[in-house]
Structure formats: structure tokens, C-alpha cells
Symmetry: C2
Subunit: 144 residues, 2 copies
């Protein structure tokens, strides 16, 4: 294995694996199109409520006009040195949560400002992939 | 300082500071709107060429139809435990680079597949912010 050729491989991740990764992390990026301009992309802390991504937003935020709009949520963990890693992309619709939908969630607002509103991204399509390189595995001798 | 109240603060980052952060990193997220659907958001490795974000794309990729379209590039480093970190958002136009524009760049394609095309994001607006919490600083006693 010490002479492995560095052939990168992409593995498509199934929906269950993507949901597991979403459950195991707490910061991702929310993205929404803006008419005639480049998309808005902002990091947010979130929780997964079933299959729904939930994050907090201020009452004065532009995000309040998102209800029923197609939005995305991206999560990744890429090692820029080893050139390995994975990413997950949730595409769905944004809704503002009612109080009863959100009060059970352990979702702290840690950016400054009034964050009394909960945005829910109800997924339509969840995709993910993992990139690995053969030579990023240690030489395990007889074990491989 | 050991009794500091945890009041988070947001600092807006200037363009020069955003460019410095872009220069010092190598993996960010490219985002583009898709008609009637949620934005596409994908992690890419990139280099900064002056103030232009450059990454590689395959010849068969959907990204080749991006020329002249408004696109975004997001970079962040968020500590989900300490609730601190920063993010940068570049909004601009996508162009495919000519060979002479890209051949001097040290930009390795490390995802599988043919990545012979270089996409350049010429920035229009570059914004960034940093979030800090008072209680995330260590107690330095008399030094503060």
C-alpha cells in the first residue's frame, strides 16, 4: 500500500448518512438567492429537528421574508492539506417556525442581537459526497 | 476580567482584512442561484489572484454556463463551542479564465475528474464580520 497511486475517489453519500452528519454538527451555511444579484451565504448555528434544519434569526432581519422560498443549507468538513473531506447540501423551503414548533429545541442564539425567530428549512433534496485519496491512508502494512 | 459579562460583539471587517483572510485560506464555498430552485453551494479549493477568487471546474460541469452570472464565495472559521469566529462573503461575477490568466496560478485540482477550466470570481462587494464573546478570553489577571 505504500506505493498506492493517488487516485482520488468521490463517494456519493446517502440521505441517512447526510442526516447523521447534520445531526453531529452545529454550524453550517444558509444560502438564499437575491433577485438579480449574487446569493446571500451566511454561517449559522443550527439544530436538526427530525429532518428539518432550524436556526435563529432576528425579527428585523431580511430573513423573515424567506417564508416559502427555496433555500439551501451547506455543511462540510474539508482538509485543505490532505485534500479529503465531505460536504452535505440541503435544498428545501424556508418557513418561520411557530413557538410550539421551536420551544423544545436547544438552540442558543450566540450572535448579538434579537434572535427571537426560528427559521426552519424543510428539506426537499439532501445530497452529499466524500472525497478520499488513496495516499492519505497510513501505510498499515499487512493490515491492508 | 474574570467577572466579564458575556456580551457578544460583532465587528465588521474591512475589505483589506477580508482579502487577507482569503489569501490565508484555501477552501471556501462557491454559491450560485438556480432558476426557481434553491442555490447550489459547493466547497472548492481556490487561490486568490489579486482580488479575484479562482477555482477549477470540469469541462462538462454545469459551472461552465456561469460566465457573467452573479455568484458568491463564502469563507469562514467558526468555533461552534466557543461561539466565536469570522466569515467573509465575496459577491461578484463569474468568468471563465483564459489560459494566460490562469497558467501562473498554483491551483491543484484535487477532486476527481477533468478540471481543466478555471472559473474566476471578480468581486463586486466583499464583506466580512467577526463575532467575539467577552468570556472567551482567558483571565490574564493584571495584563488586561
Amino acid at each position: 500500500m505504500s506505493h498506492a497511486v493517488d487516485v482520488p475517489s468521490i463517494e456519493e453519500l446517502g440521505r441517512d448518512e447526510c442526516l447523521r452528519l447534520l445531526r453531529d454538527h452545529s454550524v453550517g451555511r444558509f444560502a438564499v438567492a437575491t433577485p438579480g444579484a449574487a446569493p446571500l451565504v451566511i454561517p449559522v448555528n443550527y439544530v436538526l429537528d427530525g429532518e428539518v434544519v432550524v436556526f435563529r434569526s432576528g425579527s428585523g432581519s431580511k430573513l423573515r421574508s424567506l417564508r416559502g422560498m427555496p433555500v439551501s443549507f451547506e455543511l462540510d468538513d474539508i482538509d485543505g492539506v490532505r485534500h479529503t473531506g465531505w460536504s452535505v447540501l440541503v435544498r428545501g423551503m424556508a418557513y418561520e417556525a411557530t413557538r410550539w414548533e421551536s420551544e423544545h429545541l436547544d438552540l442558543e442564539a450566540w450572535a448579538p442581537g434579537d434572535k427571537d425567530h426560528f427559521i426552519r428549512i424543510v428539506p426537499d433534496v439532501i445530497t452529499g459526497r466524500r472525497i478520499q485519496h488513496a495516499d492519505t491512508f497510513p501505510d498499515l502494512g499487512g493490515y491492508l
